[in-house]
C-alpha cells in the first residue's frame, strides 16, 4: 500500500474499520481455533446438554455460549466453524474472481462475437436460480470442501464478469489506452498493465461483497445438508442441528446465526469502504 493510503476520521472510515475488525477477528478465530477454543468442539457430554449461555440462569462460565443437544460447547463450535466458513469464502472468491475477471476482460476488450457469446452465457447464468443449481450439483456429485468452493465460484463469477466487462468497456476507450497502443504496447500487455489495474477496484469491491455472499451460501448449503461435510462443525450445520430446538433452546441457532450475520456484515462494510478508498481518482 502506498504511503498515501491514510485514514481520515469520519463515518466511512469508522464503518470500514469496524468491518475490517470483524473480518480480522473472524480470521483470527479461524487461524487460532485450536488454541482459543475452550473445549473440543466435537466432545459430547450428555450430562451437560442444552446448557444456556452464561448470562442466563443455569448457564456457567464453563460454557459461555451454552451447549447444544449433545452437550457440545457452542462457543468452541462457533470458533471452529469460522475455519470452514472463511476458508470456503476465501477460496470461492479467489476461484470466482480469477475466472470471472478473465472472462469479463476478454468480453469487454474484444467485444464483437466473443462478447455476444459471453453475454448470453452471463445472462443465462444470472437467470438461473443459483441455490437450485448448487443443490442439484452437490446432490449429484457429492459435497465436500472443493465441490462447495467450485459451486460457489460458479455462482459468483458472473458478478465479476459483468462488473469487469462494463469497466473494461469504458476503460478501453480511455485516452491512456490509446496512448499505450500508440507507442506499440502489445494487446496482451495492455490488458495486463493498463486495463487490469484499472478494473482492480471493482474486482476488490465485488470480492468483498461476494465473500460475504459465499459465507452465507455455504451456511445455506450446509443447512440444507449438501454443504461441506466432515466432522468439523460449520455454521450452517449448526443452524440445521439447532433447528429442532428453536422453541426451547434458541441459542443453538442464534449463536452460529449471529456469527454468520456479523461476518457478512463485516464483508459488506469492508466492500463499501473499499469502494470509496480503492479508487485513485476519487482518493486524495
Amino acid at each position: 500500500m502506498s504511503p498515501r493510503f491514510r485514514l481520515r476520521p469520519g463515518r466511512r472510515d469508522t464503518l470500514g474499520l469496524i468491518g475490517a475488525t470483524i473480518l480480522l477477528l473472524a480470521a483470527g478465530c479461524a487461524l487460532l481455533a485450536p488454541w482459543i477454543a475452550p473445549h473440543d468442539p466435537t466432545a459430547v457430554s450428555l450430562l451437560a446438554r442444552m446448557k444456556p449461555p452464561m448470562w442466563i440462569d443455569g448457564g456457567s462460565l464453563a460454557h459461555p455460549l451454552g451447549t447444544d443437544n449433545l452437550g457440545r460447547d457452542i462457543l468452541s463450535r462457533v470458533i471452529w466453524g469460522s475455519r470452514i466458513s472463511l476458508a470456503v469464502g476465501v477460496a470461492a472468491v479467489i476461484v470466482g474472481a480469477s475466472i470471472g475477471s478473465t472472462i469479463g476482460i476478454v468480453a469487454g476488450y474484444f467485444g464483437g462475437w466473443i462478447d455476444n457469446i459471453l453475454s448470453v452465457v452471463i445472462n443465462a447464468q444470472l437467470s438461473f436460480p443459483f441455490i437450485l443449481l448448487a443443490i442439484f450439483l452437490l446432490a449429484t456429485f457429492g459435497g465436500g470442501f472443493w465441490p462447495v468452493v467450485f459451486v460457489l465460484a460458479l455462482g459468483a463469477w458472473v458478478n465479476y464478469a459483468r462488473v469487469v466487462r462494463g469497466m473494461v468497456m469504458s476503460v478501453k476507450n480511455q485516452d491512456y489506452v490509446h496512448a499505450a497502443i500508440s507507442v506499440g504496447v502489445p494487446t496482451a500487455r495492455i490488458l495486463r498493465t493498463t486495463v487490469l489495474p484499472n478494473t482492480l477496484s471493482p474486482i476488490v469491491v465485488v470480492a468483498s461483497f461476494s465473500m460475504a455472499q459465499a459465507i452465507l451460501a455455504e451456511a445455506a448449503l450446509s443447512f440444507l445438508g449438501v454443504g461441506v461435510d466432515g466432522s468439523n462443525p460449520s455454521w450452517g450445520v449448526m443452524l440445521n442441528d439447532g433447528r429442532a430446538y428453536l422453541q426451547t433452546a434458541w441459542w443453538l441457532t442464534a449463536m452460529p446465526g449471529l456469527a454468520i450475520a456479523l461476518t457478512v456484515l463485516g464483508g459488506n462494510l469492508c466492500g463499501d469502504w473499499l469502494q470509496d478508498r480503492f479508487n485513485p481518482r476519487i482518493g486524495n
Binding site: G111, G112, Q174, D175, Y176, V177, H178, A179, A180, I181, S182, V183, G184, V185, P186, T187, R189, T193, T194, P197, N198, L200, P280, R281
Partner: protein, 326 residues
C-alpha cells in the same frame, strides 16, 4: 527528393454506427518529407484527428472503415500490416501526443512505468534500466526533480506536468514522425507556450517529422512551415504558412483567418463564417463549403473541386479561388 516519411493518397474513413455511415474523412492526400513540420487545421468534425489516427491504425476498426489508394508510413503500407508489424511501427516510427493530458495518462500506473512502457516493449529494458531512462526522459522534458516524479502517480502532477510526461512517453523511442493532436488545448495559456517551445526544441534537436493538429491558426503560424486546412473531411488548402496567412486561396481559409481572435481587431468586427459545417452522415458530391461560401456558383454545388496546384507551392480545392486562380 528523399523517400517520404508519410505518404497518404485518397484516404477515406467511414464510421458505421447503428446502420448510419459517418463519413469522417472523404479523400485526403498528404505527403511529408523526413524532418518536415506541418500543421493541420480545421474545426471540430473536419476529420483532421481521424485522418491522423488512421496513420498508425489507432481507430477501432470494428467501427471505422479505412480505405486509401496509398497509406505508407516510412515506406511501409500501413493498411496491409499485421498487428505485430503495426506494434513495431508504433513508437519508433510514429508516435502521438494527445489532446488531454489528464486522461491520457493511466491513473493507476506510476509515471515512470508509463513513460517507459514503449521502451520496455521495443528495447526489452528491465525495470531498473527503464527507471534510469525514465528519469532521463523526464529531465529532458523539463520536469523538476525527476527522481521523485518517476515514482509518483499522474494525479500528483499538474496539467502542464502531465503533458510533459505524455511528451516524454511519445518521444521515448525517438519517433521519425510525431503527431501532436491539439497538444495544448487542455492547458492554461501560460503553460501552452512552454509546451510548444519544448516540443519545438526537441523536434529540431531530433530532426523528426512532425504534424501539429489543431484548430488554432495563431499557434500554427509559430510552429509550422506548411499548413494544411481541412474542411468536411477533405483538404481544401495546403500551402507554406507564409503564403497561406498573407493570401489564402480558399474562401474557407479566408473565413478561418477572419474569425480568428485578434487583439488588434475589436471583437464585434471579427467575422464568423455563416452557417454550420456539413453533416458527416451525408454523402457530398459537391464542394462541401459551397453552402457557406459567398463565392459559390452552380459549379460548386454540382462537382467536387479537385485539390490542384496553384503555384507558390500551394494546393487548393476551389473553383473560384481568391488568389493564384486558374
Amino acid at each position: 527528393m528523399s523517400a517520404s516519411i508519410l505518404d497518404i493518397e485518397d484516404l477515406h474513413v467511414t464510421f458505421r454506427q447503428g446502420g448510419r455511415s459517418i463519413h469522417a474523412v472523404r479523400g485526403v492526400s498528404l505527403r511529408l518529407q523526413p524532418g518536415e513540420v506541418v500543421g493541420v487545421v480545421g474545426e471540430s468534425g473536419s476529420g483532421k484527428s481521424v485522418a491522423m489516427m488512421s496513420v498508425a491504425r489507432l481507430l477501432d476498426e470494428k467501427q471505422a472503415g479505412i480505405r486509401a489508394d496509398r497509406l505508407d508510413l516510412d515506406g511501409q503500407p500501413v493498411l496491409g500490416l499485421r498487428k505485430r508489424q503495426l506494434e513495431a511501427l508504433r513508437g519508433p516510427t510514429v508516435s502521438y501526443i494527445f489532446q488531454d493530458p489528464l486522461s491520457s495518462l493511466n491513473p493507476v500506473l506510476t509515471v515512470g512505468r508509463q513513460v517507459t512502457e514503449g521502451l520496455r516493449r521495443h528495447r526489452g529494458l528491465d525495470r531498473a534500466e527503464a527507471r534510469t531512462v525514465a528519469i532521463d526522459l523526464l529531465r529532458q522534458v523539463g520536469i523538476p526533480s525527476p527522481e521523485l516524479r518517476v515514482n509518483q502517480h499522474p494525479h500528483e502532477a499538474s496539467g502542464g506536468m502531465r503533458q510533459r510526461m505524455m511528451i516524454a512517453m511519445a518521444l521515448a523511442l525517438r519517433p521519425k514522425l510525431l503527431i501532436a493532436d491539439e497538444p495544448t488545448t487542455a492547458l492554461d495559456v501560460t503553460v501552452q507556450a512552454d509546451i510548444i517551445r519544448l516540443v519545438q526544441g526537441i523536434q529540431r534537436e531530433v530532426g523528426m517529422a512532425m504534424i501539429w493538429v489543431t484548430h488554432d491558426l495563431a499557434l500554427l503560424a509559430r510552429v509550422a512551415r506548411r499548413v494544411v486546412v481541412m474542411y468536411g473531411g477533405r483538404i481544401v488548402e495546403d500551402a507554406p504558412s507564409s503564403v497561406l496567412y498573407s493570401a489564402p486561396a480558399h474562401p474557407y481559409t479566408r473565413g478561418l483567418l477572419d474569425s480568428t481572435s485578434r487583439f488588434d481587431v475589436p471583437f464585434r468586427q471579427q467575422t464568423p463564417i455563416p452557417g454550420t459545417p456539413p453533416d458527416p452522415a451525408q454523402r457530398i458530391e459537391a464542394c462541401a463549403f459551397a453552402p457557406r461560401c459567398p463565392r459559390a456558383t452552380d459549379l460548386c454545388r454540382s462537382r467536387i473541386p479537385p485539390l490542384e496546384d496553384r503555384g507558390q507551392d500551394r494546393r487548393a480545392a476551389c473553383f473560384h479561388p481568391l488568389t493564384g486562380g486558374a
